[in-house]
């Protein structure tokens, strides 16, 4: 099909899609309306289990099984990237060249690194109390490590980032989530049922039953996954070269 005919096809199909979407928008409930039956029930359930952050309660208590599926997607995507971005037979691994970094960049990156790391861990630990949780905090913690790459060079990043440990950590965190679910089965309550631990005092770190534990598992999983993913992409850019000497 030539580009011109294709553009016409896209225009006709897109116009139809846009018309249908607009018609659907007109029939949706009023924006800002007060009728949210699922939301109201989710808030009630979260408060009854002493979870201040309702979204953490939805993700790690009421929909904990779905979050396990989501974690499996993340795990599978990391596995796929590791397989796709491996070193091929006709490639070799060069040594990363030391890089010159401007002194202010280096100072700032190295000063911010520990702050960013602690912020990530804080966000994971307070997932049941304030906005945040394992997914968000894991990403913050993993990107904090990569300030080492900005502030120093790739060899320095590789020293603070033993990749095998992070790959093992990814798998360990995924199995920790499963084990926490199975612990409920063994205790006779149900898979991921959040009836295992006492709900604690509302609005304290140890509230919400198993939510903080699942949050920690997801935080570790996400941090390890992001580190492994970025490592594979950075390897492609920095270390792996084709044999022809390109």
């Amino acid at each position: 099909m030539n580009p011109r005919a294709r553009l016409w096809l896209v225009a006709i199909g897109g116009a139809g899609l846009a018309a249908l979407l607009a018609a659907a928008c007109l029939r949706l409930p009023r924006f800002g309306g007060g009728h949210h039956p699922y939301g109201d029930r989710a808030v009630r359930a979260a408060l009854s289990r002493h979870t201040a952050n309702t979204i953490a309660s939805v993700n790690f208590d009421q929909r904990a099984f779905d979050t396990m599926g989501e974690m499996a997607i993340l795990f599978a995507a990391v596995l796929g990237c590791v397989v796709l971005l491996r070193q091929a037979r006709d490639e070799h691994r060069g040594r990363p060249r030391p890089a010159e970094v401007a002194a202010p960049v280096r100072r700032y990156a190295l000063a911010v690194l520990p702050v960013a790391l602690v912020t990530g861990l804080y966000v994971v630990a307070h997932g049941q109390l304030s906005p945040g949780g394992g997914f968000q905090g894991g990403v913050v913690a993993a990107t904090a490590l990569h300030l080492m790459y900005l502030g120093a060079d790739y060899a320095a990043l590789e020293r603070v980032r033993p990749l095998e440990a992070f790959e093992a950590g990814d798998a360990l965190a995924a199995s920790a989530y499963l084990v926490l679910g199975l612990a409920g089965v063994l205790a006779g309550t149900g898979f991921l049922a959040n009836a295992l631990l006492p709900y604690g005092t509302f609005n304290t770190l140890s509230s919400a039953g198993t939510v903080p534990l699942l949050n920690a598992a997801i935080g570790m999983e996400v941090a390890c996954a992001v580190v492994v993913l970025l490592a594979r992409f950075l390897d492609q850019a920095v270390e792996i070269e084709e044999e022809s000497g390109k």
Partner: protein
């Protein structure tokens, strides 16, 4: 006026689709897919909004004192973002391999299958 947020989501989605269909670069196409996906964030958050509402976090809010936004769609948006990021990473990994094996990232030049 009350349909404007929904129409914004539809507009973002259609713009992303247009970019996907006319893309001449696979990296650009992956970016367009991310644009399509962000339309779902706008739609979900628009569905969950409530007039005068605040975040459904009760660490500094007495339960029942104010209306709160729908937490279910916010949790769904979080799921959406995570899945979107992983899918983007996987697609970019595929693009890296395509660029190495075929020497191009223009989808129009990728006609034949090659082992």
């Amino acid at each position: 006026m009350h349909v404007l947020p929904y129409l914004t989501a539809a507009y973002v989605f259609v713009v992303g689709c247009y970019g996907l269909a006319t893309s001449r670069n696979l990296i650009h196409a992956v970016g367009c897919l991310a644009v399509c996906q962000s339309a779902t964030y706008v739609l979900l958050l628009a569905v969950g909004y409530r007039d005068g509402g605040t975040a459904p976090v009760f660490s500094d809010l007495r339960p029942g004192s104010r209306p709160v936004a729908d937490p279910v769609v916010q949790a769904l948006t979080l799921t959406d973002i995570v899945v979107g990021a992983t899918v983007t990473a996987l697609l970019l990994a595929l693009v890296v391999q395509i660029s190495k094996r075929h020497g191009t990232v223009d989808p129009d030049e990728l006609r034949e299958l090659r082992g």
